[in-house]
Amino acid sequence: MPDLLLELFCEEIPARMQAGAADSLKKLVTDALVERGLLYEGAKAFVTPRRLALAVHGLPASQPDTHEERKGPRVGAPQAAIDGFLKASGLASIDQAKIESDPKKGEFYVAHLHRHGRPTPEVIAEIVPAIIRAFPWPKSMRWGTGSLRWVRPLQSIVCTFGPETEEPEVVPFEIDGLRSGDVTRGHRFLSSGAIRVRRLDDWMTKLEAAFVVVDRERRKDIILADARDLALAHGLELVEDAGLLDEISGLVEWPVVLIGAFDEGFLDVPDEVIRATIRANQKCFVLNDPKTGRLANRFILVSNLAAKDGGDAIVAGNGRVIRARLSDAKFFWDTDKKTNATVPLADRLAKFQNVTFHEKLGSQFARIERIAALAKTLAPLVGADPALAEQAALYAKADLRTEVVGEFPEVQGLMGKYYARLEGLPEEIALAAEEHYKPQGPADRVPVAPVSVAVALADKLDTLVGFWAIDEKPTGSKDPYALRRAALGLVRIVLDNGLRLKLSEFVEPDLLAFFADRLKVHLRESGARHDLVDAVFALEGQDDLLLVVKRVEALGRFLRTEDGKNLLAGTKRAANILRIEEKKDGVSYGGGVDITLLHEPEERALADAIAKAGPLIATALSAEDFEGAMGVMASLRAPVDAFFEKVTVNAEDKALRANRLALLADIRAITRQVADFERIEG
């Protein structure tokens, strides 16, 4: 079975776009092949800074032949109908159609259309240019005099097709003056001249010999393994950083890992600042010294060149830049310390009056004051001292005005912690400065110190309430103010700390629904059923996230029991019947069963059971004993089952029927004390 090799060679593709582009290329090409009847055995995409490639393995040489029978008009139909048929079926004359007969319709024409499958290269030559023209780059550009758009100028295209054992052919096409061929190029500096390639294995081998590792994952493996080894050889540990590794693997075709050093004096600067400087500006790794537990004065850089001097000049050059950057960082750190010693950070809050937080939400100063007031209110609910929480909130954003944070925004909060400690403020305040931003993402930890919790909740609530008020809610994939993250963060803080918070005291119903959505996402990730969350939120007054979760958990356990499953089925059945009958009758049933009309023993038993269970469930619920409530619910299963088995709801006697429907309404009502069973799946 023949294989396809496609390589799009261009000027440097931004690192952050490479993985997505490889996925897109694979999906677009294979989907287009399959859509045209060309099934394949396997496909793999490759990406480097200068090439995007795809190998599709095990394709047929041509599309399958197709046969279609198209029925036409009856024999003797008007000429217009015959002409229409000829045009639609592509026949030259009606003689080419067969005449078939049918006892009902009589004799009619049938066109037998045989289509020979087209050769695969012809199909490829059609789909690839279309995919290139419409490729979903996040940002694309034009160049020179052309009109083609690509992420950066596209320079050449390899497109070959053929069986493993033979010389593959070039799939010929042209796009904006660029002709497909079988020639590529190797590493920009370590290789020169054209390289003719045949198919995947050949392409990989020749490029490897030309100093290009085409597989992104392999480049990552090489970088990580070499970096760890090099660190180990110096008695140090690599500070691993998956995001940085991803980015670096997109900046090199031939990774060469080197180690350099910087002056030990820079280690006065907090580790995080050193790391932020070296990572953001130089895209280098930092190293831990296991002896001190702190950073070592070394860095690991990944160059794209096996230099003829072994990399000495590259290490020296990078070292100089890192020195300059660290001098800046140290200068900022020293300046901050000096300034803070003269005027404490908290005394400089007034400056925030001139900083706009958001055009419609006022200054950063106003926001800080709001957060402080809210933190004070929340403090008793989370076990924090109100005055301390207020003071911590006033301090929490103060580091935004420092030099270090101005230069490295990613260490906000952390610097607040360091500066608070230097100022001798209570440790709770220092911690809150760092922790009130948490959790930043799913992998980040949740604050537990009460003061941190109060400030973190206040910060997130203020953000959400503010943006809700000015109608800047997240829509679809757009969430510029990271409001989903803020809401999810709040949900996690509440749940992980077991906090009792009636959210409706702080937010409007629409925002409460947003929290419900975030809670669903959160619970789904931990394996809970989102329909149960819906079923609980459908009840009135569910604004305490912790109770919602407890109720959902109890409900989940109950529904896994036989009693639970059957009661759910019975309740749904009751609800269905009610829905149909209420629609038919145009009335709503409920409002009490007339005991004198209960004839059958099963309906009397059910009415008794409901009457007994009602107050018990209510008592259990008001004691927040959800397990207990579910236990009472279980006692309803047998009477409900028996009722449906023995009693005909739609009785001839109208009064009897209405009374039984009222009984069904009671089933619906009693289960609604716990959850809206109609929203539960299954």
Partner: protein, 303 residues
């Protein structure tokens, strides 16, 4: 004049290289600008269908970057080496790399990388895609394919290269402080450093930019430049508005407004919200000048 021994040697080597590639080697524009892109040889010539190749040094002023001569890397006045090639040739990256070799950077010894950097000038209504070019981890140039200038689509597309001359010189001379750069390539008594030429100016202008620049006058100058640009633009249009006869004098006023804005910004008298509106006002001027340029002969409208 070896490019690795003197600042002027570096400039001369780049001139020789790009002259050899067919560029007109221009002199700096005689107005205060924030970057080489503001030179009409780039901004205006990037618009319209006519081919164009030019190279020049442009003194660039960034009032806010002044550090009273105390920072070894930051200056409020520095030099950019600017190359503009329209249409961008297919081998522009190779040409750029050859220019690095021409100034003494051995590409088998140094790690040169093209790292994503999308360029945007809100005041010029311009944007493009390209890279910052790294040499051993240091950014030494900007490389941009212009997509839009003055709010107008570029067709053909120009390729723009901007070398940070001081940084590059520090790199090839192996110097840590910009003021230690050898300017004239002589040694001993005859040696002139970058500091000899510019240190006093950095101190004086830092004082001026941050403390003394007359803000009332500058605010007035901004308004004057803005209204002069509008006046010249209007006066330059032919009766049927098919041709423009004064695009460049109008554009000068746009440049002036932009620089005055930068000075006001350095003096800290422009609030965050006002800032946006000033930028928009300059952009409106730039757009109108670009449209006027297209109606001139060099902009592609035959006489």
């Amino acid at each position: 004049m070896r490019p690795d021994k003197s600042f002027q040697g570096l400039i001369l080597a780049l001139h020789a290289f790009w002259a050899d590639k067919g560029c007109v080697v221009l002199q700096p524009y005689d107005m205060e600008v924030g970057a080489g892109t503001f030179h009409p040889a780039t901004t205006l010539r990037a618009l319209g269908p006519k081919p164009w190749k030019a190279a020049y040094v442009q003194p660039s002023r960034r009032p806010k970057d002044g550090r009273y001569g105390e920072n070894p890397n930051r200056l409020q006045h520095y030099y950019q080496y600017q190359v503009i090639l329209k249409p961008s040739p297919a081998n522009l990256q190779e040409l750029y790399l050859a220019s690095l070799e021409a100034i003494g950077i051995d590409l088998r010894l140094h790690d040169v990388r093209f790292v994503e950097d999308d360029w945007e000038s809100p005041t010029l209504g311009a944007w493009g895609l390209g890279w910052e070019c790294w040499c051993d981890g240091m950014e030494v140039s900007q490389f941009t394919y212009f997509q839009q200038v003055a709010g107008i689509e570029c067709a053909p597309v120009s390729g723009e290269l901007t070398y940070g001359l001081e940084r590059l010189a520090m790199y090839v001379q192996g110097v840590e402080n910009v003021y230690d750069l050898n300017f004239n390539g002589r040694e001993g008594d005859e040696k002139v450093t970058y500091g000899d030429v510019f240190l006093q100016a950095e101190k004086e202008y830092s004082r001026h930019n941050f403390e003394h620049a007359d803000t009332a006058m500058l605010l007035e100058q901004f308004r004057m430049a803005e209204s002069a640009a509008a006046k010249y633009l209007e006066a330059g249009w032919s009766d049927d508005r098919s041709r423009h006869l004064m695009a460049q004098p109008a554009y000068d006023q746009c440049i002036k407004a932009s620089h005055v804005f930068n000075l006001l910004d350095a003096r800290g008298v422009i609030s965050v919200t006002e800032r946006q509106s000033y930028i928009l006002r300059v952009r409106e001027l730039a757009k109108a000048c670009g449209a006027a340029w297209l109606a001139t002969e060099a902009g592609g409208t035959p006489a």
